[in-house]
Symmetry: C2
Subunit: 437 residues, 2 copies
C-alpha cells in the first residue's frame, strides 16, 4: 500500500483543458506530493494533433496520437478524458473502464447522453468514474453534493451554469446593449464560440442540469424531459423592464423535487435583485442547493476556462489516486444509484410564476380580452404594467406578472391570445420568475 507512490496519468485531448491539466500537473507536483503523499506522474498526452503549439511546455516524447495504446500502458493508472463529444471520447472512456482504470472526465455531453451506460460499465469493472469538471468548471460542486451534503435529500438546485450566457446577460444589463452587439463582442473576445448555439440556446446548460439531476436523484434524465429555452435574441427591453421591477434575468437550470416528480428545466428566469444568484455576474457560475438538513447553500466560481477546469480535473485525479492507493473506491458508485426509478416531470406540468410582455393594441377593451383568456386558463394575474410606447404608437408594451401557472396552461393561453384578432402584433415574450432564495 505504501509503496505505490507514483500514480501514472494519461491525458486524452490536448486542447484548452488538457493543456491546463498538463501545466497544473507539472507546476504542482511538489504541492500534490506534500498534500497527497504520492506523485501524479504524466505518462502521456494523446491527441490527433501532436504538432500544434498549445502554449504548454511538454516533453515531445510524451505526445502520442494513439490514445488506446496510451490507456493500455501498464504504467498508466488513471485516465483523464478531455476530448469532448460523444464519439471517440465515449469509446476511450469505456475502454479504460473495462481495463479497470479510473476515468476522470469533464465531458457533460457524454455524461448527459451516456451516463447510465458509463456508470454501469464502471461498476461492472470496478473502475471509478469522476466528473467534477463537468459542471461549474472549478467549483467543487460535485464533491459537495456527493460528499459534503451526503446526509441530505436535495430539495432543489438552481444553477447559473453557462458563463457565455451569463456574460451576455450581464453586459446587456450593465451597458444597455442589444443581444447581437454583446454576442459579437463576446465572440471577438473569445468568450463565445463562432457557432454559439450550444451555449446560447441552452443545450450546454441542459447537459449540466442532467448531470446534477442524475447525481441528486439517480437514474438518468431523459433529455426530452428537459424543457430548454435559451437566451438567443433576448430583447434589451425585457432586461430593462425586469430591472425596473427589481429583477435580473438569468439563464437558470432548475432542478426541483416536487410531489409529481423531479422537474428539470433550463429557462431565462427573473430573479429578485436580493436573490443570491442575482449577483453572479459575467462569466461566473453558481449553484444554489437546498438540502433538507443543511438548508440553503451556494457554490460560486469560474464555470469554464483552462485553469479553473484543470483545478477540478486534478482534484479528481488526486481522489482517484488516493483511492487506488487505498485499494478500492471510497464511495460506492451507488452515489449515483439505480433506485426505484425516479419520475422526471413532463415539462407541461411545471408550475411557476411568469413575466409576460405583450405588444398590445392601445385601445380600450384590449387588456380585458387578454386578461379574460388568461383567466379562462386558470392563470391569475399579480400585476399589469403598461409601458410608454413611442408617441401615437398603435401597439404598446404591456407587462403581466402571473401567479403560479403550469407551463401547459401558459402555452395554451398565449397561443389563444396570439390567435385573437387585433390584440397583439408580436409573439408574446415569456420568462419564468423565481423568488425563492
Amino acid at each position: 500500500m505504501a509503496e505505490l507512490k507514483d500514480i501514472g496519468v494519461a491525458v486524452l485531448g490536448f486542447g484548452t483543458v488538457g493543456g491546463g491539466v498538463v501545466k497544473t500537473l507539472a507546476e504542482k507536483e511538489a504541492l500534490l506530493l506534500e498534500r497527497l503523499g504520492l506523485r501524479l506522474v504524466l505518462r502521456g498526452v494523446a491527441d490527433l494533433d501532436v504538432e500544434s503549439d498549445r502554449g504548454v511546455s511538454v516533453d515531445r516524447s510524451l505526445l502520442t496520437t494513439d490514445a488506446r495504446a496510451l490507456i493500455e500502458r501498464e504504467d498508466v493508472d488513471v485516465v483523464a478524458e478531455l476530448i469532448g463529444g460523444t464519439g471517440a471520447a465515449r469509446e476511450l472512456v469505456l475502454h479504460a473502464l473495462k481495463l479497470g482504470k479510473p476515468v476522470v472526465t469533464a465531458n457533460k455531453k457524454l455524461l448527459a447522453e451516456h451516463g447510465p451506460e458509463l456508470h454501469k460499465v464502471a461498476a461492472q469493472y470496478g473502475a471509478e468514474l469522476l466528473f467534477e469538471a463537468s459542471v461549474g468548471g472549478g467549483i467543487p460542486i460535485i464533491k459537495a453534493l456527493r460528499e459534503g451534503l451526503v446526509a441530505n435529500q436535495i430539495n432543489s438546485m438552481y444553477g447559473i451554469l453557462n458563463g457565455t450566457c451569463n456574460y451576455i446577460l450581464t453586459r446587456m444589463e450593465e451597458e444597455g446593449l442589444s443581444f447581437d452587439e454583446v454576442l459579437a463582442a463576446a465572440q471577438a473576445a473569445g468568450y463565445a464560440e463562432a457557432e454559439p448555439s450550444l451555449d446560447i440556446d441552452g443545450h450546454d446548460t441542459a447537459h449540466k442540469a442532467a448531470v446534477l439531476a442524475a447525481l441528486a436523484y439517480g437514474g438518468s434524465v431523459p433529455l426530452d424531459n428537459i424543457q430548454v429555452t435559451g437566451i438567443r435574441g433576448m430583447a434589451a427591453a425585457d432586461i430593462t423592464y425586469a430591472a425596473k421591477m427589481g429583477y435580473r434575468i438569468k439563464l437558470l437550470a432548475i432542478i426541483r423535487n416536487c410531489a409529481e416528480g423531479v422537474e428539470v428545466s433550463v429557462q431565462p428566469t427573473l430573479v429578485e435583485r436580493r436573490h443570491p444568484l442575482a449577483t453572479v455576474l459575467g462569466v461566473y457560475n453558481a449553484v444554489l442547493v437546498h438540502g433538507d438538513v443543511v438548508g440553503t447553500t451556494l457554490y460560486y466560481g469560474r464555470g469554464a476556462g483552462r485553469m479553473a477546469t484543470a483545478s477540478a480535473v486534478v482534484a479528481d485525479l488526486a481522489d482517484a489516486a488516493l483511492n487506488l492507493r487505498a485499494g478500492g473506491h471510497r464511495r460506492d458508485l451507488s452515489a449515483v444509484p439505480e433506485r426505484a426509478p425516479v419520475v422526471f416531470r413532463e415539462p407541461g406540468g411545471i408550475v411557476a410564476r411568469h413575466y409576460v410582455r405583450f405588444s398590445m393594441k392601445d385601445r380600450p377593451g384590449t387588456l380585458a380580452k387578454v386578461a379574460a383568456v388568461l383567466g379562462a386558463h386558470g392563470i391569475g394575474i399579480d400585476s399589469v404594467m403598461q409601458q410608454e410606447g413611442p408617441e401615437n404608437a398603435e401597439y404598446v408594451p404591456v407587462l403581466f406578472v402571473t401567479s403560479q401557472a403550469s407551463e401547459r396552461a401558459m402555452a395554451e393561453a398565449l397561443a389563444e391570445i396570439e390567435g385573437l384578432e387585433d390584440v397583439i402584433d408580436q409573439k408574446p415574450v415569456r420568462y419564468r420568475i423565481e423568488n425563492s432564495a
Copy 2:
C-alpha cells in the same frame, strides 16, 4: 473489508448540535446506507445531563454520563465531540485518538488553541481528525479546501463566519436600528447569547480564521498574531455613510498570503455593494477563496444552527466510516502539514485602505491639520466628505477614505490626531475597506 457494514458512533455532548446529529443519524439511516454502503449506528450519547428533554427522541439506554467508557467500547468505531470548550472536550478527543479512533469535532476553539497537539497525536496514533463543522456550519468549506482545491495554493480567504454579527449588521442596515436595539432583539430571538462577547467581539470569528489559516498554510496561528476587532457598539451612522458610498459593512475574517507572511485578521470591513460577500445577509455565512489555479470561488450557507451543523458532522462521520472500511485514511494528515514554519504577519504590518470618521470642529483649517498628520505618516487620502451635522453644531462628521496604509501608521496617526487640541471631540471610528472581488 466488505463485512464491516456497521460503523459504531459515539456522540459526546447532547446539546443543540449533538441533538441534531442524533436526529440526523436516525432519520437518514436508510439514505446513508444506500449512499455509503454501510450503516452508521449510534452506540451511545454521553452528557453530564441525561435528564433534560432535548427535543430529540433517543432510546434512554443509549444515554450515559460516562464519556470515557463510551469511547472505549469495542463497538464504537468513530467519536463525535460536540461538547465545546477546551476542558473535557480536549481530554476526550485525545483519549479517543490515542485509542486509534477517528474523531469528528465541531469545536473551533479547541482547534484554534490546541490544533497542533491534536493533529500530532492523531498522526502518532493513526487516527483521523475531521472538523468540517468547525467553520461555516453546514457549508462544506473544509472539504473544498482540502480536497476540491487540492491543486491550489490559497492566495487569500475572506470570510463572514459569525451569523450573529452578520444578522446584527444586516438588521442595522435594513431597518436603521442601533446596535443595542438589534442586539437585544437578537438575544430575545435566540440568535445571540445572553453573554454575547464571544460573537460580537470577534473571538469566534478569530477561532475560525485560525482553523482556515492552519488548513491553508500549515502550522499553527498564534492567536496573538490575529488582530481582532468586533462590532460591539458600531454606530448606525457609519453603516449609513458606508451605504451612501456604495459599501456594506461586514465583519470579515481576512487571511492573505503576502510576501511578508500570512496575514490573519478579523475586522469590520467596508465591501462594495457588488462584492460577492456584500449580499450575504442575516445569519448566513460565506467564504470567498482565491486559489492560484481555480481563481475565485465562494461557499455560502447557514453558519450555525442544529441541523446545518449536523449536516457537516454527519458528512465527516461518513468520511471517517468509509476510510475505516477502506482500512486507513484517504488523506494524509499532511493536508495540515508541518512545513517550513509559516510566518504569520504581525498585525501592525497589515496594509489596507481605511474608512475613518472624525467628529471634527467645524472651523477653517481643522481639516488641513488632520490631513497634515495623515500625510506625515505617509497615509494618502483618496477622498474626504464632510457630512451635515445638526444645525449650528460645533463638531461635524467628516469621512476620510485613505489609500493603502499600514495598521501601524493608521494607529499612530489617529493617536496623534486625538492629541491635537481643538480638532476632534470623539475617538475616530476606523474600518478597513476591501474592493477586491
